[in-house]
Amino acid sequence: MTSAMEQHGRVASDVPVLEVSDLSVSFASGGEPVRVIDSVSFDVYPGETVGLVGESGSGKSVTCMSATGLIRHVGGRIDAGRIMIDGEDVTRIPSSRWRQIRPKIAATIFQQPIRSLNPAFTVGDQIAESLRVHDKLSRKEAWAEAVRLLDSVKISHAALRARDYPHMMSGGMCQRVMIAMALACRPQLLVADEPTTALDVTVQKGILELLNDLQAELGFGVLYVSHDLEVVREVCDRVIVMYAGQIVEYGEQSDLFEFPKHPYTAGLIASTPSMDSQRHELGFIPGTVPSASDFPSGCRFHPRCTFARESMCTEGTIDLTSFNSSERDVRCVRAGELKLHGGPIS
């Protein structure tokens, strides 16, 4: 089977910065291990942004933490699959090696920048630290580079602000510092885990523009996790939709949002208010995400799906298959017959 994801070709640079294949991860919480993500495959090419969307509990964060080698620190275990970064399978490498290579291959920026920074050190020191450790710069060189990085994330008076402690900065400023720190060792992949969710809209706009400019300049690939589909629509080239630990749909951003093929994707789009929404008109998905120990048989979305049919949707396993040979993968047996609504492209 050639899936849409495999057919996806890039002319300029054909080597992905991140290639995840058939990744399965489980957590053992006391008793039996629980499989939380199941056979997930995708890739991210240099200079592009891939969106990862889905509700809480769909496996987005576990996927990201696996790709950045952090999953073992939260008790997760990679059962199967490969994660290729920079030509190396990183699923089996020891933590000590991860510490050496992480800032150069896969940096992360998180939702709550203020919590990710150390309150006891100035922001300049925190950026300089990683440069001293990983790039072996001297104290003085590292500081100068930290100031340059702060300047590159559009923090004015960078030399002065480098001496500030995190609490002296606003949320947006802290996120700029996080970006500077993440990019300090020039990683090939930036994992952005809800980077603007905690920020005001005007600040969010500035951060998204900054990320876009830096990406154009430095050419890193971005894995962008968000539950805000409108943001994803704006920043992503391709989008992966996850539900209950599986990829349920994958496609090009504009096509996927305009013509969703999976009822879950259509439900998410309908639940997301946009500036084109009309008063008192908002769709929703009934129910909640099942817990990982309790995934339903058949299509995992079927208990919440208005299109679910007895037996064909409720039994066996349903594969992610390429849809109509377009650049689209869908995990829905009724994908061909359903007429689903997407959102207007703004």
Binding site: Q204, K205, E234, S271, M275
Partner: protein, 258 residues
């Protein structure tokens, strides 16, 4: 018809050099069975206004009128009676309920304080309230830790409805929830409004959600009202530069994309 209005509300915190003016001369009007949205960025004073309206914090100056009463002139005893009619739900559902009380106890407390009901009436009412917010009687035995964020927010709404309020102040009711669950809660609020004629004050920084729910809108910045009016008109043709900036910053409304 106006149910709740405020004139020239001001509130500052701290003294002398450290004084912060959180709300500065804010006036607004909520019509019966409609939704007034208060929008703005962090620190604009939206939540403070919400709390001032219910006298959860006391304004420094200004007048609040609720259904013909001047709220600030009411004696404490009468104020307590009016409080039943003015309820609030908060942003972080996990901290807005008493963790030691079951859902049933939380609801019963509202009955006990505000109504005289016998056991059968209480159970019937609890059943009715839980059904209204899409929960069942089996949820009544649970404590907040045993519920999801969306379920807790439903309980908060049920608890507010238990008092049979006229006005419900919702302070960022869905911003801590998943988009899909937020959509469920928003739809629930709209249903309750059309079924019971609830008047809503909806405090939010999410202008997209406000566009769906609001009839009237107040835009705040730095404690002051920068613009107010009919929601459709404000969205269509904002009068102030700041509102325009806010609207342009909304994802899907601008062009951050290459």
């Amino acid at each position: 018809m106006t149910i709740l209005s405020a004139q020239h509300l001001s509130k500052s915190f701290g003294k002398s050099k450290r004084k912060v003016i959180a709300v500065d001369d804010v006036s607004l009007t909520l019509e019966r069975a409609s939704t007034l949205a208060i929008v703005g960025e962090s620190g604009a004073g939206k939540s403070t206004v919400g709390r001032l309206l219910l006298r959860l914090i006391e304004p420094d100056t200004g007048r609040i009128e609720f259904d013909g009463h001047s709220l600030r002139d009411l004696p404490p005893r009468e104020m307590r009676r009016q409080r039943r009619r003015l309820q609030m739900i908060f942003q972080d559902p996990s901290t807005s309920l008493d963790p030691l009380m079951t859902v049933g106890q939380t609801l019963e407390e509202a009955f006990r304080v505000h109504f005289q009901m016998d056991r059968k009436e209480r159970l019937d009412r609890m059943h009715e309230l839980l059904a209204q917010v899409g929960l069942g009687m089996h949820h009544a035995r649970r404590r907040p830790v045993e519920l999801s964020g969306g379920q807790i927010q439903r309980v908060s709404i049920a608890r507010a409805l238990a008092c049979q309020p006229d006005v419900l102040v919702c302070d960022e009711p869905v911003s801590a929830l998943d988009v899909s669950i937020g959509a469920q809660i928003t739809n629930l609020l709209l249903e309750l409004q059309s079924a019971h004629g609830l008047s809503l004050v909806y405090i939010s920084h999410d202008l997209r959600m406000v566009k769906i729910i609001a009839d009237e809108i107040v835009v705040m910045r730095g404690g002051r009202v920068v613009e107010s009016g009919n929601a459709a008109e404000v969205f269509h043709d904002p009068a102030s530069e700041y509102t325009r900036e806010l609207l342009e910053a909304i994802p899907g409304n601008g062009a951050h994309r290459r």
